[in-house]
């Protein structure tokens, strides 16, 4: 199969370019895109990409595969090629600076994550045992805590492309709601106050690109809707 990969080494190249590789998949099996990347790297060791767990847990190998963001390690090649297994186009996640080839600089993405204070804040004295939750309270965190911060969603979001420094983005907002919804967190009002400006939350235009690409099947748009309702309820 033809594999076209985005190449850019700022130390050598004046501009990014696409490099084509011809890859023969042993037994024509439906392998993962990450396997293809490894085969390309065998041919050409200069290729740089990130990966670690190779099973959809660490979130380090988000790439744009035939135009759609996803984790290379859990995307079978039949999916982006619609069963034809003829051609793969691999590019870095869009919208963030490229460090080299498929490796992007995620600083802005992490800065937004940091901004929403992704940890429990509780001003009551710490109990002798854990802070307990009812099963119902715990159930509210389902669909939120599973985020692996792969950035597939935020880098698919046009609002994040235009304002990556001001709009928290789908991933950060999903996490923001994860802590707003947690019964053990007591700083809901402060958290909401931090989010009420015109950019942090309200840049979301409900395009739902984030939902479309999330490899964990999460729904940031719904979480953003919940945050908006909380802000509204707090004001009226």
């Amino acid at each position: 199969m033809l594999v076209s990969v985005y190449r850019y080494n700022p130390e050598k190249d004046e501009a990014p370019y696409m490099q084509d590789y011809e890859i023969t998949v042993p037994g024509n099996k439906d392998v993962m895109v990450l396997d293809i990347l490894h085969m390309v790297k065998e041919q050409d060791p200069t290729l740089a990409f990130r990966r670690s767990c190779r099973e959809g847990v660490c979130g380090s190998d988000g790439v744009s595969i035939n135009g759609k963001n996803g984790l290379a390690c859990i995307t079978p090649i039949s999916e982006p090629t619609k069963g034809k297994m003829d051609k793969l186009v691999l590019r870095p996640l869009p919208g963030l600076p490229v460090i080299r080839d498929l490796v992007i600089d995620m600083s802005l993405f992490y800065k937004q994550y940091e901004k929403i204070k992704p940890y429990l804040m509780n001003d009551k004295p710490a109990p002798a045992i854990e802070r307990l939750q009812t099963p119902e309270e715990r159930a509210k965190l389902d669909g939120l805590y599973e985020c692996i911060l792969c950035a597939c969603c935020s880098t698919a979001c046009p609002s994040f492309w235009w304002n990556p420094d001001k709009f928290v983005g789908p991933s950060g907002l999903l996490q923001a709601y994860r802590f707003l919804a947690d019964s053990r967190d007591t700083s809901t009002a402060d958290r909401l106050a931090e989010l009420s400006d015109p950019f942090s939350v309200f840049r979301c235009r409900g395009i739902m690109n984030c939902v479309n690409v999330c490899p964990k099947g999460l729904n940031p748009t719904r979480a953003i809707g919940h945050i908006r309702n909380m802000l509204l309820n707090q004001q009226v």
């Binding site: 235009w162 009420s196 400006d197 015109p198 950019f199 942090s200 309200f202 840049r203």
Partner: protein, 115 residues
């Protein structure tokens, strides 16, 4: 918290509410005018003027006029902060928009009160 001096409602929430509220008002106004035109097949100038001469219609039109200005400002402000990255260009664009909207509002009120 991201601070911004040029947005209308001072908070994202107010802008968001303004946008939705004005959209409803504008939809009602449009439907009403459409209904009026359909309900009066041979519409004459006198009838049209008679409609706008009534105080409630003046108020309704005024509210719609203000709604369209607020709606347009929030929308144009959003577009400008999405796509115009150079501060001077963005500010100039916002100034032009504000100028147009202000003229439309004053002009509209002037027309309305001359009926």
């Amino acid at each position: 918290m991201v601070a911004s001096v040029t947005n209308l409602g001072r908070s994202g929430l107010y802008d968001w509410v303004i946008q939705r509220l004005t959209a409803v008002i504008l939809a009602l106004y449009t439907l009403f005018l459409l209904g009026f035109v359909i309900a009066s097949p041979d519409l004459q100038f006198a009838q049209w003027q008679g409609l706008f001469a009534q105080t409630w219609m003046k108020m309704f039109t005024l509210v719609a006029l203000m709604s369209i200005c607020a709606h347009a400002w929030v929308g144009m402000w959003t577009i400008s902060t999405d796509y115009l990255k150079a501060t001077a260009v963005r500010f100039a664009f916002q100034l032009v928009c504000a100028g147009f909207l202000f003229v439309y509002l004053v002009w509209g009120i002037d027309i309305l009160w001359s009926v």
